[in-house]
Symmetry: C2
Subunit: 356 residues, 2 copies
Amino acid sequence: MTEQTIAQVGEFPLIDSLVAPLSMGPQVQLGPGDDGAVVTIDGSMVVSVDLLIENSHFRRDWSSAHDVGRKAIAVNVADIEAMGAQPLTVVLGFSTPASLPVRWAREFMAGMAQEAQLAGVSIVGGDTTNGEIISISVTVMGQTAGLAPVRRDGAQVGDEVAYVGRLGYAAAGLDLLMHGIGWLQPGEGAHQRGFDGSTADAARRFQHDVSRYRETIESQRHPQPPYGQGRVAARAGAHAMIDVSDGLIADLGHIAQNSGVRVNLRSEAFIIAEPVRAAAERIDTDPMTWMLTGGEDHALVATFAPGTVPEGWTVIGSVDAAAGPDAAGSAPMGHPCIMVDGQQWQGAGGWTHFSS
Amino acid sequence: MTEQTIAQVGEFPLIDSLVAPLSMGPQVQLGPGDDGAVVTIDGSMVVSVDLLIENSHFRRDWSSAHDVGRKAIAVNVADIEAMGAQPLTVVLGFSTPASLPVRWAREFMAGMAQEAQLAGVSIVGGDTTNGEIISISVTVMGQTAGLAPVRRDGAQVGDEVAYVGRLGYAAAGLDLLMHGIGWLQPGEGAHQRGFDGSTADAARRFQHDVSRYRETIESQRHPQPPYGQGRVAARAGAHAMIDVSDGLIADLGHIAQNSGVRVNLRSEAFIIAEPVRAAAERIDTDPMTWMLTGGEDHALVATFAPGTVPEGWTVIGSVDAAAGPDAAGSAPMGHPCIMVDGQQWQGAGGWTHFSS
């Protein structure tokens, strides 16, 4: 049986069938179907856009459509959270070859709808069009609702640095997969792998791996940002915040540079989560490398006045005055000013050096 | 001299150089450079997204980058106007091959910035990424500022139907070009053509054509929506409104169907603009076909209670009760209910029939 493609169904019936199951939040005055959607915004609007391009950000033979849909929402909502705002609505641009199986589009939308529900956002509109590859554009809008947006440039000397959410999960999951441990994706368009190459009692050991490494490997397929914690940080008066998309060091570097400060991290303050520790033990590596440099988990990291860090956040360091190359107190140009255990961070490969 | 490509410049310097010249309106609290932009919204937010995909919506050898940029803003702002709202801000998703000449990206942004200024919107953020073809996503956000949004489904029996903006310009321009009259694009990535194939005194006659047909041919390159008139219609209490992207008949059909009414157009009520009349005379055709069926000019068409049509709008018909197949007063399913001079519209090719 050949699969039904978008060319066979037609664009308008496809849109109707994709949009019909979506539920709208109470802020949505008018959803899809008119020239624009109408949404109640209480206070200032916060907006962010992200593109997901086939073969650049995902491959159809590596990721399930459902995971791509979940990721498309998650990474973008995390940007709104990182401003301390409440995410509300999403509009979607979806360009696809006409040869795309309708099932892919449906599963993609199901993934988006599932993640949208977790994140508390409504998908209120979109544009579907034809193109040679799949291009996905997700714009998320939120509201500050009276609180000041939390920017990257507000960190102050004396602040405590804290994070909430997952650190190192996605990097650990990727490392497991690269060591042949675990599975990428059960079902359609997927690779199902046993343990270290599927020999003798692979099935039983596979079950063991599934439960032990599920969380890290699933984090590699789509992130699980700490929804709602952006608002928690804003209410606590966070001075600066960012979501960890490229790695903790890299993203804290943006805060340090934009704020003109130096960030001191204490490695012993990090809490190594059990799934990350299990992965590190399995492949005999130091989990701190993943936590300091691994991206794609979209934790939130923020700086707070001493004593104002919200419950559930982990304090991992502090902010002091930037020491420039001339020690004159200005931020050094061109590189982030991050110290780990009292030494300047030397780049992605540097952690092993410090920890030994 | 080979042209500098995006691969040579790098993504971040490119973004910086593209974003730096943008000016921000007074509503913009925080522009590009953080996790999200922050914009003051007074009342309800209206949002719309459009995709422009290379080789589907434009070709680099047919359209200049500047025109693609202008069009990207114009077609999307027109959607916000069509809701009766005030367009405020734009976020841009821009995916491109690394081999793209930097000049293309700069001219595209210059076109966007020019049109954004005309439309009164600020470009507050974006995402730039790598992809095999150029994919452009434009999300426009506006505000209703206390007025009710004007939907497609509000037309009432007895309403007057009126439009503002250009009708038939882009279709006339395309027809001229297809007859070898005029020029597509002076300069880069362009076709420069003389008059009917560039013979003897082509240059002099080309100058004549440039001035006589400039407006229609330029309309074919990028639309010129009637910015601000959406708010004018909303203030006048318009019952239903849409922008003419696919053609007047087709788009009024959406209003008729969604409102459950019938629209009667009077061909003698249309004002045939001089540039459209000139084009029609030149290639000996009926300009009403362009005005009734030509798309891409993004005029606004709306229905108003009798006597409330705003100044500058042209009344072209009225709304009466839909006569279903069973004449029971319900809208016929599956096709628009548009009458022209008392006869049911028979499709795109039908106008010549009625006018003869």
